[in-house]
């Protein structure tokens, strides 16, 4: 009897303490874990931003999908035959453990069999990328015309020569050299429909700091408004001009001056040009008004 009475009393005291302790411990642990989680979440969303000069391997899916899919195993790094790819470590700005490359250091050599994509176990590098020319690791942009040698009228064009898609991803566009008045500028021009972002052009730029750089496409590219129509393109598509020819000009032209609608513009007949300043200043003001209907 005394035993059965004593037992509950004996148990009740530690039980109460245990519960209090359990609750406080649980609350402490919960708060600590919550804080850790919040910090980690903030860190995660902050470090998810990829620095513009860090390029993902070919076939990498859009950055947010890539970060969720990549398991940071390094298999792509191992199978890259040129040592292009590296894994980010704690000190890098790139999210830790994920593969990237820096074009100016070691660009992508665009292997035909794309071993890095074949090595990816998760599909963070899209296995559907069959042709390396379809890769879009970034987009080259000649971002500094002031220092680019070709813009100064020189014939450097190393970026053009080294481009794996020479004549497609980078072309040389001729322009008049106004400085010399008689030479041409060979302007390296990147075409977004062909450029893979391999980074060779940036790697080989002869300047101490490359004038052509590979950037994420959304940064390197502008965007044309949807409603814009280029007249010359529309003309080509329609096989004729979409606007009516100009009617004959009926402007109040000075004597001896005509206008050619076919594109020549103003025509001066030098021989018939009258004295520019008549004796009577009013004549000058009324010039041509008599012919008006």
């Amino acid at each position: 009897m005394s035993d059965s009475l004593g037992k509950p009393a004996g148990r009740a005291a530690p039980k109460k303490l245990d519960r209090r302790r359990f609750l406080s411990d649980t609350a402490k642990t919960g708060c600590a874990v919550l804080l850790t989680g919040l910090g980690l979440g903030a860190y995660a969303s902050k470090s998810a931003a990829l620095p513009v000069q860090a390029l993902r391997p070919p076939g990498a899916r859009s950055e947010d999908v890539f970060l969720g899919t990549c398991v940071r195993c390094g298999l792509c790094v191992r199978d890259c035959p040129y040592g292009t790819l590296k894994l980010a470590t704690l000190g890098d700005d790139v999210l830790i453990g994920t593969p990237y490359f820096t074009a100016r250091d070691v660009p992508c050599e665009m292997c035909e069999d794309i071993p890095c994509v074949a090595a990816c176990p998760t599909g963070a590098l899209n296995p559907d990328l069959g042709d390396i020319d379809d890769a879009r690791m970034g987009l080259a942009a000649l971002i500094n015309q002031e220092t680019c040698l070709n813009f100064q009228g020189l014939r450097c064009e190393v970026c053009y020569r080294e481009c794996p898609l020479i004549g497609e991803a980078i072309t040389l566009e001729l322009r008049h050299n106004q400085r010399s008045g008689k030479h041409a500028l060979f302007i390296p021009t990147v075409h977004s429909d062909s450029c893979t972002g391999c980074g060779k052009c940036e790697r080989v730029c002869v300047l101490p700091e490359a004038a052509i750089k590979v950037l994420p496409a959304n940064i390197a590219m502008g965007q044309s408004a949807e409603h814009y129509r280029w007249g010359w393109e529309e003309k080509e598509r329609a096989h004729k001009s979409l606007v009516k020819p100009d009617p004959r000009h009926r402007y109040n032209l000075p004597e001896g001056i005509g206008y050619d609608n076919e594109g020549v513009g103003l025509i001066q007949d030098k021989t018939q040009l009258p004295e520019p300043f008549p004796e009577n200043p009013l004549d000058s003001l009324n010039q041509g008004s008599k012919e008006r209907p």
Binding site: V33, L40, G41, L75
Partner: protein
């Protein structure tokens, strides 16, 4: 205290007293060496890292912990990763989930070293952390993956960070490892692996019903020297099996947190412990049917003191 426990009549030779520890270290370094053979010697038996690897070009292995985070982040993944995760899951289910912690994980070497040094220096400071904090962190890491869309725990996971650092270049990642080392050394006893690591918690759950287990079949011979409690990284797992005879608990160490490290087998001079299966967990199993070794009173007191400390 230690002199008391080490004075037991130990007839077992050096190998018997160290074998599981040595085998375990060999396993840990062999795994690392296999991975390092490629980058250091150009012999590519295994490519990749513990997160995901390819052995001999055919056998894919993927860490299910990170793949589940990836899945929660709302991503689809290739068959190679999925197959690798299934193989790893199956393997650790069979041999015990936390065999990963004790026999493979490189951080275990770091924290074991910290623990050894802690004992050598006689550091007593111990911040009490609930052992189930790791499960909270496991839940948090899963929730974070769900909310942020990336495997957020991988940003700070010392396991993958250390191994990746050794294989691919450390950068400043060693700071993280140093933090774990110092935490275990000076802040909390067995703090990281025994209380916080959500990866260990994940593998605990994975191996909750693993057939391979440590058993205290010889528990009747126990003289309560407490050596096993001293060396065990998860001391709480031993008690029910070792002292449970009077409550009707079987001799099986049926705790998911047991790492199957086998160190208790090494240190027990009475050969109480052995590897076995989870089956046949009858109460009266063992060579001797005698009661608990009639130890002296002071031994029981020592036992209580040690217990309180742990």
């Amino acid at each position: 205290m230690s002199t008391l426990s080490k004075t037991t009549d130990n007839q077992r030779n050096w190998w018997l007293r160290q074998r599981w520890l040595l085998l375990r270290r060999m396993s840990q370094f062999a795994v690392l060496a296999l991975f390092l053979l490629g980058p250091l010697a150009g012999i590519w038996l295994i490519k990749g890292s513990l997160n995901s690897s390819l052995t001999l070009g055919v056998l894919p292995l993927t860490d299910p912990f990170i793949l589940i985070q990836s899945w929660l982040a709302g991503r689809q993944f290739g068959t190679q990763a999925l197959l690798g995760a299934l193989i790893v899951t199956g393997f650790y289910f069979l041999v015990g989930g936390r065999v990963y912690c004790a026999w493979v994980c490189p951080v275990n070497v770091v924290t074991d070293t910290a623990h050894w040094l802690r004992n050598r220096l006689g550091l007593r400071g111990n911040t009490r952390i609930q052992a189930n904090t790791r499960y909270w962190l496991l839940g948090a890491s899963m929730l974070l993956a769900l909310l942020t869309g990336i495997a957020a725990w991988e940003l700070v996971n010392p396991v993958s960070t250390l191994q990746r650092g050794l294989l691919f270049g450390m950068g400043t990642s060693w700071l993280l490892i140093l933090a774990v080392f110092l935490f275990d050394l000076a802040v909390s006893r067995r703090g990281w692996c025994g209380h916080l690591c959500p990866m260990g918690a994940f593998y605990s759950l994975l191996g909750k019903y693993s057939p391979l287990r440590i058993r205290a079949d010889g528990r009747d011979a126990c003289d309560k020297c407490m050596d096993c409690f001293d060396v065990c990284p998860e001391p709480q797992v031993i008690r029910p099996a070792l002292f449970g005879k009077k409550d009707g608990t079987g001799p099986l160490i049926n705790e998911a947190n047991c790492t199957n490290c086998g160190r208790c087998i090494d240190v027990c001079s009475k050969e109480v412990f052995s590897f076995g299966t989870r089956f046949n967990n009858k109460q009266s199993f063992g060579p001797e049917q005698a009661g608990i070794n009639p130890s002296t009173e002071f031994k029981a007191e020592q036992f209580k003191q040690k217990e309180a400390r742990i």
